[in-house]
């Protein structure tokens, strides 16, 4: 099993005729991900990667039973685009786009959550359950089906963590990227709850970063889980007040936003904390005592 996406998910791409949307659609198709079509207003009837393109989300859902959307449209159009996704009652939307104004993110997250659509992002690299469905910018060639769950704000950092755990013989059940923006639709705790109920996840790696405080309830919840959790917090050396790429990852003046404080929160909840990204493989291996390897 896995969480959020699997072989039965029916994926749509919003903005499928754009450069990014097309790239994703072609790659999903080639990799065997269950993609069923896409939407671009005014391009209904066209085809991309052999898949039907629709004018509206409602039409796409009516024709394909799509139940997850990868949103690849420009920041100027994303608010309306997301409202349309929610209106079509699609339960999962990945907002891949970055540089969305934070007040737009606030509105989108509030509307989606009120109407029952789960948002990953904004600025999320997506979610992937290797061997089943890849709704992320992670490449199938760098993934391996397995029993480790990963939840991270960052996409590129998961690449590194995946490389790390592969070196120790593990693979991934699902990798979930929450997005690097200041306000995001899905939290660490939301994802940890799903992993806790997934019989095919043996351990979860939580990857945190500077800024905000979503890691604190995650540490608290992780302490109550049956599934073991390990944590790594990046940005420990980042200078104060410097934006390092993610709009959200800024070490502020407040103690709570600092990686060191978050590491302490996990450690005092009894969660093992890896101090560097290149230590994660070994920490996982030690925690599981070598079990669950492929």
């Amino acid at each position: 099993m896995s969480i959020l996406v699997n072989s039965k998910t029916r994926i749509l791409v919003q903005g499928i005729t754009g450069t990014t949307g097309r790239l994703f659609a072609e790659r999903m198709r080639a990799g065997g991900t269950p993609i069923v079509g896409g939407v671009t207003p005014g391009k209904g009837g066209a085809q991309v990667a052999g898949l039907p393109v629709f004018d509206t989300m409602r039409e796409a859902v009516a024709a394909t039973d799509g139940d997850a959307v990868l949103c690849c449209i420009a920041p100027d159009h994303i608010v309306d685009g997301l409202y349309e996704v929610v209106d079509a009652r699609i339960p999962l939307a990945v907002l891949y786009i970055e540089n969305i104004p934070v007040h737009d993110a606030i509105k989108m997250c509030a509307y989606a959550s009120a109407r029952g659509t789960r948002i990953l992002g904004p600025n999320s690299a997506g979610a992937v359950s290797p061997g089943q469905a890849n709704m992320a910018d992670l490449n199938d060639a760098n993934l391996r089906p397995g029993r480790i769950g990963i939840v991270s704000k960052s996409g590129t950092l998961t690449y590194e963590v995946i490389d790390e755990i592969h070196q120790y013989g593990y693979g991934e059940s699902t990798v979930v990227c929450l997005g690097g923006d200041r306000v995001i639709g899905t939290t660490y705790v939301d994802v940890l709850r799903l992993f806790e109920d997934d019989p095919d996840t043996d351990l979860v790696v939580v990857i945190g970063e500077p800024g905000g405080g979503l890691e604190y309830p995650a540490a608290e919840y992780a302490a109550t889980m049956r599934t073991p959790v390990i944590a790594y917090i990046t940005g420990q050396g980042s200078p104060q007040d410097a934006r390092m790429g993610h709009a959200g990852a800024v070490v502020g003046e407040d103690e709570r936003s600092r990686p060191q404080s978050k590491m302490r929160a996990f450690a005092s909840a009894g969660i093992t904390v890896a101090s560097r990204v290149t230590d994660i493989g070994e920490v996982v291996y030690r925690r599981l005592g070598g079990a669950g390897r492929l």
Binding site: H103, K107, D137, T156, T158, E160, T234, M244, G245, V277
Partner: protein, 387 residues
């Protein structure tokens, strides 16, 4: 981006929040009550560091302003000097609104105790109200904040105006933080924003085309300005106190998470980082653009340049080609001082390109980090390495 006090106040005035009469020195507002001479810096606590002075005549204003103009408050050079009419204050309140990241909404905060650092005010004396973005600011919420300020009904209209203005300035101006501390009540019964701390959303700049760029940016390094114009994220530590110690490493990464993790690999090993660039989608704009980014990267003047890129959607090859172009430009470092780790799409051909350019290449972050640290070790001044 953070605004200086005078820029923040102009923004508040636009939303019908009263501010004291003021002008940027050498101009000076008319006043019958004396003046306050205020150093314009971004850091808080300037009053305690001698950045706010009281003047009783114009001559004093000019003397104090001239002195502050060339001064440094803490570690920050004064950007400008703002002169304000001195207020006759009866009470100081606290009022602020910010993007509450953990709760995913705007939160407004008010306290009857203002004029001091809000962290020093007991939590029980601060009212905090979350605003539902789908509904907006409700009348009862304004009343809750008014009660927390403990003001009488005679101020009701003014409080309503200032709270509504605060909320509008947050949402309409795409601000992340608007803090009025203190919100001053004068003896004549007027509520005024006596200070303003505002941070605007970098991602909403294009929605406000008429806005001029913040004054504080004028003192940014050429490196930071180049980064901004190339749409990449730059970090320049060279102006920080204390400055990075030699040997220094500059870092170029793709993706915030990976760039931060790379930064940690170096900084936590005790080696100084001169600065960093996060490519932030630069690759999508082609090889020439990316080469320009790498040339900018070389402006960091570090002893070692560490490039760590992991691409799973786009090809690493374009980055390798951009590196070759940048290495052939004037100002490029010796190739022995460039360490490259590239992983992902078309990694093998990138490896060939990077190696042909004479730079160190490894697909492994661990190995590349070790190389950077060994290089740094070899560059440590002799006297130090002996101790």
């Amino acid at each position: 981006m953070k605004l200086l006090e005078y820029e923040g106040k102009a923004l508040l005035a636009k939303h019908e929040i009263s501010i004291p009469a003021g002008a940027l020195w050498p101009e000076c507002p008319a006043s019958g009550t004396g003046w306050v001479v205020k150093a314009q810096v971004l850091a808080g606590g300037r009053g305690k560091k001698g950045g706010v002075l009281l003047a009783s005549d114009r001559k004093q204003v000019d003397e104090m302003a001239a002195r502050l103009k060339g001064a440094t408050i803490g570690t920050e050079a004064v950007h400008a000097v703002y002169i304000e009419q001195r207020l006759d204050i009866a009470h100081e309140y606290y009022l602020a609104g910010f993007v509450n990241r953990d709760r995913g909404c705007v939160t407004l905060m008010a306290s009857a105790t203002g004029g001091i650092d809000i962290e020093q005010v007991p939590r029980s004396e601060i009212e905090s109200v979350d605003i539902d973005p789908l509904i907006g600011l409700a009348a009862f919420q304004i009343q809750r904040l008014r009660r927390a300020l403990k003001v009488g009904p005679q101020l009701e209209n003014q409080v309503t105006a200032v709270v509504s203005g605060l909320y509008r300035s947050l949402v309409d101006e795409d601000a992340e933080l608007v803090e009025i501390n203190p919100l001053a009540l004068t003896r004549t019964g007027q509520l005024l924003a006596a200070d303003a701390k505002i941070a605007l959303d970098d991602d909403a700049v294009s929605r406000h085309p008429s806005r001029s760029s913040p004054t504080a940016w004028a003192t940014d390094s050429n490196f930071m300005r180049r980064c901004r114009s190339l749409d990449v994220i730059g970090v320049d530590n060279r102006g920080r106190t204390p400055p990075p110690a030699h040997p220094t490493v500059a870092i170029l990464g793709n993706g915030a998470g990976l760039t931060m993790a790379t930064y940690d690999q170096i900084a936590l090993s005790g080696v100084s980082v001169a600065g960093a660039i996060e490519l932030h989608g630069a690759l999508a704009r082609g090889v020439a653009h990316t080469a320009e980014v790498i040339r900018t990267f070389f402006m960091l003047d570090a002893d070692i340049f560490f490039i760590n890129a992991f691409y799973q959607l786009r090809s690493t090859e374009a980055l390798a080609q951009a590196l070759v172009q940048a290495m052939a430009s004037p100002g490029a470092p010796e190739r022995e001082r460039v360490v490259v780790r590239m992983r992902g799409v078309e990694q093998r051909s990138s490896e060939r390109i990077v190696k042909a350019a004479g730079c160190f290449y490894s697909p492994s972050l661990r190995e590349a980090t070790e190389r950077v640290l060994a290089l740094a070790q070899s560059l440590v001044p002799k006297a130090e390495s002996a101790s």
